[in-house]
């Protein structure tokens, strides 16, 4: 069974702080995605990473895919209250498998 483990499960920080959340697996994935989900809404795709070692930046968010394509990290610089939400990683197993495997998420609260 392919599993994605996310850490930490919960994170509460003050506005302006930096943070990193992790998504780890013992399996190799063809690509990995990060989503953010707010209460009462569905997840919204932030980024897809496909190449080992790839780094993508989205404003204050930096996403990295591990060299072996088994893990990923999301770093937020100078967090804002608007960054509050549930951050989920998900991955396709590869080939024609269109089923996404999901982590349990990191619940982030950024306090003003």
């Amino acid at each position: 069974t392919q599993l994605l483990e996310q850490s930490p499960q919960f994170l509460s920080i003050q506005e302006g702080e930096n943070l990193t959340v992790y998504c780890n697996s013992s399996s190799v994935f063809s690509s990995l995605q990060w989503y953010r989900q707010e209460p009462g809404e569905g997840p919204v795709l932030l980024v897809t990473v496909v190449t080992g070692g790839e780094v993508k930046k989205l404003k204050r968010l930096t996403f990295q895919f591990g060299d072996a394509r088994k893990d990923s990290s999301l770093h937020i610089t100078a967090a804002q209250p608007g960054d509050t939400g549930l951050y989920l990683c998900a991955a396709f197993g590869g080939g024609n498998n269109r089923k996404l495997i999901w982590g349990l998420g990191t619940s982030l609260a950024v306090n003003p």
Binding site: Q33, G42, P43, L45, T48, R98, K99, L100, W102, L104
Partner: protein, 113 residues
């Protein structure tokens, strides 16, 4: 344009009753997915429709669950004889063909008393 819509947004039902959840995907999206998200847990894949191909039903947890899709439009997820463990948010997503980007609806929160 309009995103994925789901109805109802909330559904409270009694154990043993049947429920039907609806998903309207983004127009032109040939792929449609149903997921279940229990409190404190990640998303659990239920079923995947792609065009006229046979759906991938491998995630349906029991024969009480079924789903249909009319062409490339509306899909309904039916849960028969609901149980308390069926309580969850049911999310629908659509994508353009095999594209990796899935667009999610707001979900239906199902509570089985």
């Amino acid at each position: 344009g309009a995103g994925v819509s789901q109805s109802p947004s909330n559904k409270v039902t009694e154990k043993g009753k049947d429920v039907e959840l609806r998903c309207d995907p983004i127009s032109g999206h040939t792929a449609l997915y149903w997921y279940r998200q229990r409190l404190g847990q990640g998303l659990e894949f239920l079923i995947y429709f792609q065009g006229n191909s046979a759906p991938d039903k491998s995630g349906l947890p029991s024969d009480r669950f079924s789903a249909e899709r009319t062409g490339e439009s509306v899909s309904t997820l039916t849960i028969q004889r609901t149980q308390q463990e069926d309580s969850a948010v049911y999310l629908c997503a659509s994508s353009l063909g095999a594209a990796p980007t899935q667009y999610f609806g707001p979900g239906t929160r199902l509570t089985v008393l």
